[in-house]
C-alpha cells in the first residue's frame, strides 16, 4: 500500500481483485439492556486471537453498557487458516465485521491490530478509534524486538513465526502460570503481513473524521514510549499512559485500568450519545 495523504476514489486494482472471503471467528458480550450505545470491535495484534479480549475486556465492556465484539484476523484464533494473508486481507476482515454490526462501531486495535485498524479506518467511517500499544512497523520496532528477544524475533525476518516472550508481553505482577498459559496460546501472522510491517505501511486518511485515542504503557517492551507519542501526534493528541504494564494491556494484571479509561473517553466524547 502506497503512502498517500489524499483521498483515494479510484481503487481499480482492489475492485478487480477482491479479497478472498475467509471464515472468521467473532466473540461477543452484549449488555442485558440495549441502551443504544455504540458497539466496540476489538482487533487483536499479530499472533493473538479474539480470545485475548474475551479473557477480561469483553465482559467488562458489556457490564458498562456497551456491546463488545472481538474478531480473530484470518489465520488467527478460531478463524480460517490463512498463511498467505496480507495486511489488506486483515483490514478487510475488520471492515466486514464492523459493517455487520447493527450500529456504527468504535474500532479498538491492539499491537499490530492497531495498524490494521488504521487501514480499516480508510474503508469504514468508524464512530471512533482506539489504538492500544500500536505497532505501526518500521525498522525501529524490529531493532527493539531483536534486542529484547533475538531468538523469538530473528526467524520472523526470514518468514518464520514471530515468537514473543513473557517479558515482552506482561509485567511481573501477572502470575507466572497465567502468563505461561497466554504465551502458549499465541499463534502467528501471515508471512507477507509480517514483512509488510517492516515497510511501515502508511494508512490512507481515515474516512468520516473519527476521534482517535492512543494509549499504552511507558514500560511496554515492544512499543517504545516515543512510538506512542509519534502515533498519537499523527492523530492530533497525546497518548494516555499506564506505567508498569506490559505490552498486552488487556491480559496483564491491571487490565481494568486501560479499558475503564477507554470507556470513560467514549462516554465523554460526543461519539457515544
Amino acid at each position: 500500500m502506497s503512502a498517500s495523504s489524499e483521498l483515494r476514489i479510484m481503487r481499480g486494482r482492489e475492485w478487480s481483485r477482491p479479497v478472498r472471503p475467509a471464515r472468521r471467528e467473532v466473540l461477543s458480550a452484549v449488555p442485558e439492556l440495549e441502551e443504544g450505545r455504540p458497539p466496540l470491535l476489538f482487533v487483536p495484534g499479530f499472533g493473538h486471537g479474539a480470545w485475548a479480549f474475551a479473557e477480561h475486556w469483553l465482559g467488562h465492556v458489556a457490564s458498562r453498557g456497551f456491546p463488545a465484539y472481538a474478531v480473530s484476523l484470518r489465520g488467527h484464533g478460531g478463524s480460517e487458516p490463512a498463511p498467505e494473508a496480507t495486511l489488506r486481507a486483515y483490514a478487510h476482515d475488520v471492515v466486514q465485521v464492523a459493517a455487520s454490526l447493527p450500529r456504527q462501531a468504535v474500532l479498538v486495535g491492539h499491537g499490530a491490530g492497531a495498524l490494521v485498524v488504521a487501514h480499516a479506518l480508510a474503508r469504514y467511517p468508524a464512530r471512533g478509534a482506539v489504538l492500544v500499544a500500536p505497532v505501526f512497523g518500521g525498522w525501529g520496532v524490529l531493532g527493539a524486538a531483536l534486542r529484547r528477544n533475538p531468538a523469538g524475533t530473528l526467524p520472523a525476518v526470514f518468514g518464520g513465526p514471530l515468537r514473543l516472550n513473557r517479558g515482552q508481553l506482561f509485567s511481573r505482577e501477572l502470575p507466572d502460570e497465567e502468563a505461561r498459559r497466554y504465551v502458549g496460546r499465541l499463534g502467528r501472522a501471515g508471512r507477507r503481513a509480517q514483512w509488510a510491517l517492516l515497510g511501515e505501511p502508511e494508512a490512507e486518511p481515515a474516512v468520516g473524521a473519527p476521534p482517535v485515542l492512543v494509549l499504552g504503557s511507558p514500560d511496554d517492551r515492544v512499543v517504545p514510549a516515543s512510538t506512542l507519542t509519534r502515533v498519537a501526534r499523527r492523530y492530533g493528541s497525546a497518548p494516555l499512559l499506564f506505567p508498569g504494564m506490559g505490552h498486552d494491556l488487556m491480559l496483564d494484571a491491571r487490565w481494568a485500568e486501560p479499558i475503564d479509561a477507554i470507556l470513560d473517553w467514549l462516554e465523554k466524547e460526543p461519539v457515544a450519545h
Partner: protein, 468 residues
Amino acid sequence: MSTSTDHGRPDPEATSPAANSDGRPVSDRGDTVCVIGAGASGLTAIKNLREHGFGVDCYERETGVGGAWNWRHDRSPVYASTHLISSKPFTQFPDFPMPDSWPDYPHHGQLLSYFERYADHFDLRSHIWFGTEVIRVEPVDGDRWDVTTRSTGGYGPERTARYAAVVIANGHNWSPKLPRYEGLEEFRGEIMHASSYKDPAQLRGKRVLVVGAGNTGCDIAVEAAQQASRCWHSTRRGYWYAPKYVLGRPADQVNDSLLALRVPLRVRQWLYHWTLRLTVGDLTRFGLPKPDHRVYETHPIANSQLVYYVGHGGIGPVPDVARFHPYAVELADGREIDPEVVVFATGYLPRFEFLDASVFADSAGTGRPTLWLNAFTPGHPTLAVAGLLQPDSGLFTLSHWQTVLFARLLQARRDRPERATAFASRVRERAGERYSGPVKDSSRHWFEVGHADYLRAIQRALVELEGK
C-alpha cells in the same frame, strides 16, 4: 419480512416564521439541507452530509427506504428475478461493503436488505419523512430553497420549508419511456411497459414479444424463453451481449484490471471483441443483426443467458416493430407475428416534475439538464443532483462520491468562500462535460458515463476544491 415503515420523523418546526412570495407560511430550517428521495443515492446523501456536520431533512414519497430496489414500492422497476449486473466490489458503497457471504451478483432482495442495514447502521431513518412527496422546489434569495411537500397521493395540507441547500435524488428508472406506433390503439393483445412486469407468471403459456435490449429487455426475454409458449425479441440494432463471467472471473473485474493499467479504449474494445468472439461467437448466425457500433458505445448488457436461449430456439430475434394491427405486429422487414402480450422494455426517462424548468435551463422539458459532473447546475451553487448517471458499472460508489463532493462544497461555502466561488465558475465553464467515450445517439445515452473517467473527474474536482 421486515417493513421499513418509520414513524420516528423529525419535525421541521419553524425556527423563525417567514412567508414566501405568495404569502404562504414558510418554516425556516436554517442551515439544514433537504434531500429528495431515500433510494440509494438519497441515503448516501444523508449519511455523507451528516458526516460533514450538516442537519438533513429527507423526504421520501414511499413508506420505506431503498427506492427502485424496494419492490413493494409502486414505482419500483424491479421484477422477481432481478439480480445485479455489476459485481459486488463495483456495486457496494466504498465505505460499507456487502457481506462476504453474498454471491458475486446479489439478488434484489439482498440489495434492499443492504440499504436497510445501511440506513440503520448510520441511523439515517430519523432524518427521513416517509410518505411525503416533494411537489415544488423553488429558488429564493441568498441561494436558498423553498421546498413544498404534502402526503403522497395528494392528501393533507401542503407545507413549505426553507433550506440552505437541496440534493435531488429522485431516481431516473421510474417514469416509463413508451414509444408510439401506428395502430397501437387498435391492437387487441395485452400491452405493458417493463415497469409493470413483476413476475414470470404474467407470461406463462403465452406468445410474448419483448421490445428493447437494454438489461431489462434481455432479462425478460430470458424469462419468456422459459415460461412463455413463444418469445420474440425485437431490437432496433445489434448489440454486444456480454457474459457475466469471462476468464473465470466477473467480467467487470476483468475489465477493471485493464482500466487500472490504463489500457487505451481502442485496445480494450479490441480485447473485448476478441473475448466475445471466443466465448459467444458470431451472433449473426442466429439472425441477430451485426452491432452497428463498437463495444462500450451502447450501455453495456450483462447477460449470460440470452445467447444461450437464442441458441436453443427459446428466443427468436426479430427486427424493429413497424406498426401494429389488431391481431398482429408488423416488423420492419415486412414479416408479421401474432403475440398475445407485448412487453416494452424501452427504458425510462428522467423527470423533475417538482422543479421549474428555468432552474435547469431546460425550457423544452427534455429532462436532460446541462450539468457539470452530472450533478451541479450553473447559477445554483446550493443545488446538487445525485444519481443522474448511467454508469458502465454500479451506481452507488458514484453517488457516494457526488454527495461527499457536495458536502465539502457546502463546507467550503462556509469556511473558504473564495474556493466555493471558484468552484461555481468551474460549474459554468464545464457544464455539459461528458465522461465516456463516443456513444450511440439514443435517449438513454446522454448521461452514460464510464465509471473510471467519471470517478477520476470527481477526484480532480475534490482536489481543485481543497488543494493548495
